[in-house]
């Protein structure tokens, strides 16, 4: 259920950020709904098969999207699957998509694809431990190690959950390939992470990748929504709206970090994760 919601919402999310960025720079901006037509156009196009490509080129977009959607399946925003340890499966399903996406980037034998691929690997190394520790801390503070049993922000667990939320926010920027980590609008190969991997993928393959990236971001927004009090779906919409504003602001007035400075930024994620976990263990 949640997966379907995400699939429907993903283009609108991306489109809204683009529209907001246009407005902030005093441009008219295309309607946020244009993304749907854009996707439909891409999906109906023929695609270019690079001479060197293997079936891995197709597995990349397929599993990137399906992995993200399957991960969304576990979010109890709407009725869905739930069992102890489901958040671990969800994060590793994202990794499944990432693995094949990185391989697909190497598949065409282009230098840019490989650059994007190892940069993505670096971001994962930096972001993953903190995120998992933060989610583990939230699960420990809740009941039963499942997403359905996550606690809601309240006075008794405020510190731990705020740390978890901060860690998830950093993770969203890293996973979604957004501003301080990656620049989604750049055409400079030297700075790209996510886009560099997609260079040789067009038409329906590109559409699947775009959808997957947006679904991934919505997944992290959904995780944050679970930790906030209130009716789930409404809170989720609120979180997504907040992210549209944050991303629009960040990508208009912020700058992308130098690639070698990424460890400095992403180490906050690890720090928040460790602190949250310590907080959950010692119950402060």
């Amino acid at each position: 259920m949640t997966a379907l919601l995400f699939l429907l919402l993903a283009p609108l999310f991306g489109g809204s950020v683009k529209w907001l960025k246009a407005r902030l720079t005093h441009r008219q901006g295309a309607s946020p709904l244009l993304e749907y037509r854009n996707l439909a156009k891409l999906l109906s196009k023929a695609w270019v098969r690079p001479g060197l490509s293997t079936p891995v080129s197709l597995l990349g977009p397929t599993l990137a999207l399906l992995g993200a959607l399957a991960a969304a399946l576990f979010l109890p925003l709407l009725p869905g699957l739930s069992f102890a340890g489901d958040f671990l499966v969800a994060l590793y399903l994202l990794n499944l998509g990432r693995f094949f996406q990185m391989l697909a980037a190497l598949d065409t034998g282009s230098a840019f694809g490989a650059q994007g691929s190892y940069r993505e690997g670096l971001v994962t190394i930096l972001a993953e431990p903190g995120t998992l520790m933060a989610l583990g801390a939230a699960a420990l503070a809740g009941e039963g190690l499942g997403l359905a049993g996550l606690p809601v922000l309240g006075p008794e667990n405020a510190l731990v959950l705020l740390l978890v939320l901060a860690s998830l926010a950093v993770a969203l920027l890293a996973e979604g390939a957004r501003m301080p980590v990656d620049d989604p609008t750049t055409h400079l190969e030297l700075t790209m992470v996510h886009e560099a991997q997609l260079l040789d993928h067009g038409g329906p393959l590109l559409a699947l990748y775009e959808l997957a990236a947006a679904v991934k971001m919505l997944f992290y927004a959904g995780l944050m929504a679970l930790l906030l009090p209130g009716p789930k779906v409404l809170v989720f919409m609120g979180v997504v709206l907040a992210w549209v504003l944050v991303l629009g602001y960040l990508e208009t007035f912020g700058v992308k970090l130098r690639y070698l400075r990424l460890p400095d930024f992403l180490s906050y994620n690890t720090l928040f994760g460790v602190l949250a976990l310590l907080g959950a263990i010692w119950k402060f």
Binding site: A46, L52, G85, Y92, M102, G109, R119, G121, L132, L208
Partner: protein, 552 residues
């Protein structure tokens, strides 16, 4: 000992004799296959009967033997000169390993243990002069391991549990590549021929784990520090091995580092079990063993089909042999800990074990996540550089029907274990995530893949920015690909340049220990001067000291 093991032992002796007498590949295949089936039968009875650790070992050994039965004769056919020796030794090596798993503690156990070490050494050393360093490392490690075990077995009843367990930790830890003692593994395993690497890495290292696990029934429960040492060293070793392995040029060397990583996780699981007694840790421990044996066996045997193992000279292999590419991709995806692989299932259980554990143990989750992310990077590098992209050099591929069948056997079992891990964990009374999820995901992926494949497309070259056409030199090489990640770990002191270099910090420690030992022996040597007067003086001094001690 059960009938299955008896039958297998006889079959192995027979195979060994067939190998010695001459080269008869058909009879050899049948005998090895029979041995494999016997192990599986016996292991299945033990594991699903009483849930013994020996059962797991028999199962994984049986699977490897089955694969080798079809793989080995054809592989050796490509190396006719050394073939009879290997054909003679490999069954004996298998026999020694089963002996270790079946022998009662005490002298019989040590007999088989040393036999296994000796045969393993021969199998590595036989590869020729270029394997010398690796064989020497293997030999030294075996001696260290033996010393630890003698301390434990002979000291039983005289020494306290702390000393006994310290001996066991060294004795079995060396074999299981526990962190500071792991250096020998990436040196010894890659230099052996591929089937032997698969056996060494897939099966022999597991006997160290088996020994550590069984030791609690032989020597009583371990002291608390043993559990902590296993968790800490296991997790640290896993991270260290992956980082170090990221810079490995040799395909099999990298696979050996990945073995150190996987063994580190298993040791951490065992340590967690010693500390908390929770079945979750045991589930991770046993499931990971079988999963690792299967996927690492698949990868090592797969690499046996290549004539070239330097990553920077491989590339584009998929186009030449899609079957091998697909099987290796399967093995590597499982090895990277991706769902629904067996290794992921084991890690998933381990994560929960750590989260439920008391004290600071939940912090282990961070280490596990780091291992997961590094493993992703590690396997993308291996597969992407070797099998995808443009070819970088001339590589001969030989993968006949027999070798193919051996790989397929392992792949089928690996897929089976990945899709039904809960069947395997049943003796521990442990559940897993709902297994229809991966099925559903795979079915959907297949559907979407076919839809994409049928969309209209046209073939065109890779985009080259409109400059000169792309060449294979433009792809990053093996070290360039991993350089960004290696920068995060400055203790390795990576120097990239014309001649890239990588420090192995531990190497110096061992060198230092060796030099210190030499210094100490020279000191003692000074006593042996050959002068009678000096000896008389020493005797007198000894007498005085002894008298003094007695009188005071």
């Amino acid at each position: 000992m059960s009938e299955g093991v008896m039958v297998s032992a006889l079959a192995l002796v027979g195979a060994s004799l067939v190998g010695l007498r001459g080269w008869d590949s058909r009879g050899y295949t049948w005998l090895l296959g029979l041995a494999g089936v016997g192990f599986l039968w016996a292991g299945e009875a033990v594991w699903f009967g009483e849930g013994g650790a020996a059962g797991v070992f028999l199962l994984l050994l049986g699977l490897l033997t089955l694969a080798l039965a079809s793989y080995l004769p054809e592989y050796l056919g490509h190396h006719p000169k050394e073939a009879p020796v290997y054909a003679f030794l490999v069954p004996l090596f298998l026999l020694a390993m089963v002996g270790v798993a079946q022998a009662p503690p005490g002298l019989p156990f040590l007999f088989f243990w040393e036999g296994m070490a000796l045969l393993g050494y021969l199998l590595v050393a036989l590869e020729g002069p270029k394997a010398q360093a690796g064989a020497r490392a293997f030999f030294l490690a075996s001696r260290l391991s033996g010393a630890g075990l003698y301390l434990a077995f002979l000291g039983q009843g005289h020494l306290g549990p702390d000393w006994i367990w310290a001996g066991l930790l060294v004795g079995f830890g060396v074999k299981a590549a526990l962190f500071p003692f792991h250096l020998w593994l990436p040196r010894a395993h890659p230099v052996a021929i591929s089937p032997v690497s698969a056996l060494l890495s897939g099966a022999m290292t597991k006997l160290g784990l088996y020994g550590l696990f069984q030791a609690q029934t032989w020597f009583g429960p371990p002291p608390v520090w043993v559990g902590f040492a296993l968790v800490l060293l296991g997790l640290f070793g896993a991270v260290y091995a992956l980082v170090r392995g990221l810079a490995e040029e040799d395909l099999k060397g990298a696979l050996a580092y990945s073995s150190v990583e996987n063994l580190g996780l298993m040791l951490a699981a065992l340590g967690g079990y010693f500390l908390t007694g929770k079945a979750l840790f045991l589930g991770a421990f046993f499931l990971h063993q079988v999963g690792h044996a299967l996927f690492k066996g698949l990868l090592f045997l797969g690499s046996g089909a290549l004539s070239e193992r330097q990553l920077s000279r491989l590339g584009g292999l998929w186009h030449r042999m899609p079957l091998l590419g697909g099987l290796v991709l399967l093995g590597m995806a499982v090895g990277a800990g991706l769902p629904p692989g067996a290794v992921f299932a084991a890690e998933w259980v381990l994560y929960q074990g750590f989260l439920f554990a008391p004290g600071l143990l939940p912090l282990g989750v961070g280490a596990l996540a780091l291992v997961g992310a590094l493993a992703l990077y590690f396997y993308v590098r291996l597969f992407g550089l070797a099998f995808l992209g443009a070819p970088r050099g001339e590589v001969a591929l030989h993968l006949g029907p027999g070798m193919r069948f051996g790989l397929l056997v392992l792949a089928v079992f690996l897929v089976g274990l990945s899709l039904f891990p809960q069947q395997f964990l049943r003796p521990l009374g442990q559940g897993l995530y709902p297994s229809w999820i991966p099925w559903g995901l795979l079915a959907l992926a297949l559907g979407l893949y076919r839809w994409l494949d049928r969309r209209p497309s046209r073939s065109y070259g890779t985009w080259d920015c409109g400059f000169q056409p792309l060449t294979s030199r433009m792809q990053p090489n093996a070290l360039g690909f991993s350089e960004p990640a290696l920068r995060l770990f400055p203790f390795l002191r990576l120097r990239v340049g014309e001649r890239p270099e990588l420090d192995e910090p531990l190497e110096r420690v061992y060198q230092g220990v060796g030099e210190g030992f030499g210094w100490a022996t020279r000191l003692v040597q000074a006593l042996q001067s050959g002068s009678l007067h000096f000896y008389l003086l020493l005797q007198l001094l000894t007498l005085v000291v002894v008298m003094g001690v007695v009188l005071l």
